[in-house]
Symmetry: C2
Subunit: 334 residues, 2 copies
């Protein structure tokens, strides 16, 4: 299989899960001290992960948690982000300009900053109050959700936290590589069919909204240089549907959280107005050892990524386009 | 001038401004009673207007105000929307399925609902605690901002509220029709050039983010059946930029609020990577009688709409495509 190192991928997920004692110590300390609001702060891909974490928490918890866009923070500001607030960030390089700028301001306000910063000696690492370094960008959502889960546990809103993580610790990593193997043939066919699309529409809701947002922008546009548009399932029905016809390539991500019905509604409509639609439904990927009731949490987020990763690997090869090159980003000053 | 009734348009804006005593009475009553959180709730176009109002307030106020997507509300929920909350909605027909569904749930929670419902005897009118009916969809943002301004005034955060509205009452309506006249030739040229674009990118930030979001979706996609993608100026630099080249049609909306620098950064980059970009800068439209310091509030929101309205009028005529027809929306059940 292309770009697939089973052993390494299992190790990566297992390693992220092993951060849990460290996450728990930090979150418990912050929780016991108290806070007014929680902000997941990001830009681009980390903004998408922040949206996923916040949608996840909103569906299950009373915690005052919000997404804060980094660049909107240092321009518009947010008076409800105070010295009593908790701000959670993530960065691979630790140098993302807008996040550094925003985080410096957050620091001045005096909020507590918890950062998953993969580069230990970076600017961002120095600004954070708590830093967890585990250089593996593919586990960002898992890290964000681990914080969310611990916060909900402390809040008394996740009583079976221990059982839940026992299942993840034992079955998540292997479940994901198995799903990738299962999805590879789909990924190849999809890549062959769509690798020259003039435009591709990606639709999703719930924790799949952040997934389509980042998949269209960070993978198709940024990495594969393919044009794509992401649209929330509920918003699709209020405008975008009118430009869809027989030949428009549309892919719907269907997850398993509270917003699944919004995507199911689109799934019902699409075949009537579009001759080129694909549904990726996480329900089609069984994962041994993870209870049904836990699937709508982190599992479906990572399952969707496992599937789209197969598409990307084939697009990269077929289009003769290395995913790590950029035309403009960080190539010159602007 | 095409589709331009100067007298009627002045009357429409003036009429909306004359709702102010009614808005003030309602807001004062609600404010004096107290609330925990404020939610602008919407979907599609009203979701975009909600984003504009909330971004506006966040830049100037300490009010706990949030955007709440209607369909996300009745699926994911929001435990911080309580019986002490204020929910603000807007609807032309008063029957938008998702908003009716969400608002019914909000009613059960017991929050106070203030609705700008253009159809008096509609379902939504009956659900709201306070209804203001002024059948003019073009004034939705002005209504949302009037509520915002009064709330900030009550909060002690808008001390020159009276002077501000004196200027709007006297100069806004005429200023907007003058801007439309000024923009008409630009609108015609833009329409002629772009009316067959396979895809058009619209970029903006601050209160222009809601503007590009709704312009791409509710005008180009829904009304003109033209493909378009909206992207926030800050997000554009984190992915979408990579698919831009010499021949990609891109239009940047530049406003005058706190996020203007985010769009100026894109304005600096675009000419270096794109041979088909257009900047619409509200600064190019002087409006007599409105002080410089007040331009970044509702004025620039409505100015941008005045300009894009000229594009739409010409596209409608040139493309022989009536803007009020729909392929799918409300044409059949789904």
């Amino acid at each position: 299989m292309l770009k697939f190192n089973e052993e390494q991928q299992v190790k990566d997920i297992q390693g992220a899960l092993e951060l849990r004692p460290e996450v728990e110590n930090i979150v418990d300390e912050i929780y016991d001290r108290g806070f007014d609001n929680i902000f997941y702060l990001g830009i681009g891909g980390t903004y998408a992960s922040a949206m996923q974490a916040v949608t996840y928490i909103n569906g299950k918890s009373n915690l005052p948690v919000y997404v804060q866009h980094a660049a909107e923070y240092y321009t518009t500001g947010n008076k409800r982000l105070t010295k009593e607030s908790l701000v959670i960030i993530s960065s691979v390089t630790g140098t993302t300009e807008e996040v550094v700028h925003a985080t410096k301001m957050v620091k001045e306000v005096g909020a507590t900053i918890l950062g998953f910063i993969d580069t230990k000696d970076s600017l961002l690492s120095k600004i954070c109050d708590y830093v967890i370094s585990y250089p593996n960008p593919g586990t960002e959502q898992l890290k964000f959700f681990m914080v969310a889960d611990r916060l909900m546990y402390k809040q008394g809103e996740f009583t079976d936290y221990t059982e839940y993580y026992k299942e993840l610790d034992e079955h998540l990593a292997v479940g994901l590589v198995e799903a990738e193997k299962e999805a590879d043939e789909f990924g190849r066919i999809f890549a062959e069919k769509h690798r020259h699309d003039a435009m591709h529409y990606f639709i999703g809701a719930g924790n799949q909204w952040g997934a389509v947002y980042s998949y269209a922008m960070c993978y198709w546009e940024e990495q594969s240089w393919l044009r794509s548009k992401s649209i929330h399932s509920a918003e699709f029905l209020h405008g975008t549907l009118e430009v869809i016809d027989e030949t428009t390539p549309v892919t719907l991500f269907i997850g398993e959280d509270e917003q699944r019905p919004l995507s199911e509604r689109v799934a019902k409509l699409l075949p009537r107005i579009c001759g080129d639609s694909t549904f990726i439904d996480t329900k089609d990927y069984k994962v041994k050892g993870i209870s049904e009731k836990y699937r709508g949490r982190i599992l479906t987020v990572l399952l969707m990524h496992a599937v789209t990763q197969r598409i990307d690997a084939h697009v990269e090869k077929l289009n003769c386009h290395p995913l790590d090159i950029r035309r403009y980003y960080r190539q010159f000053e602007y």
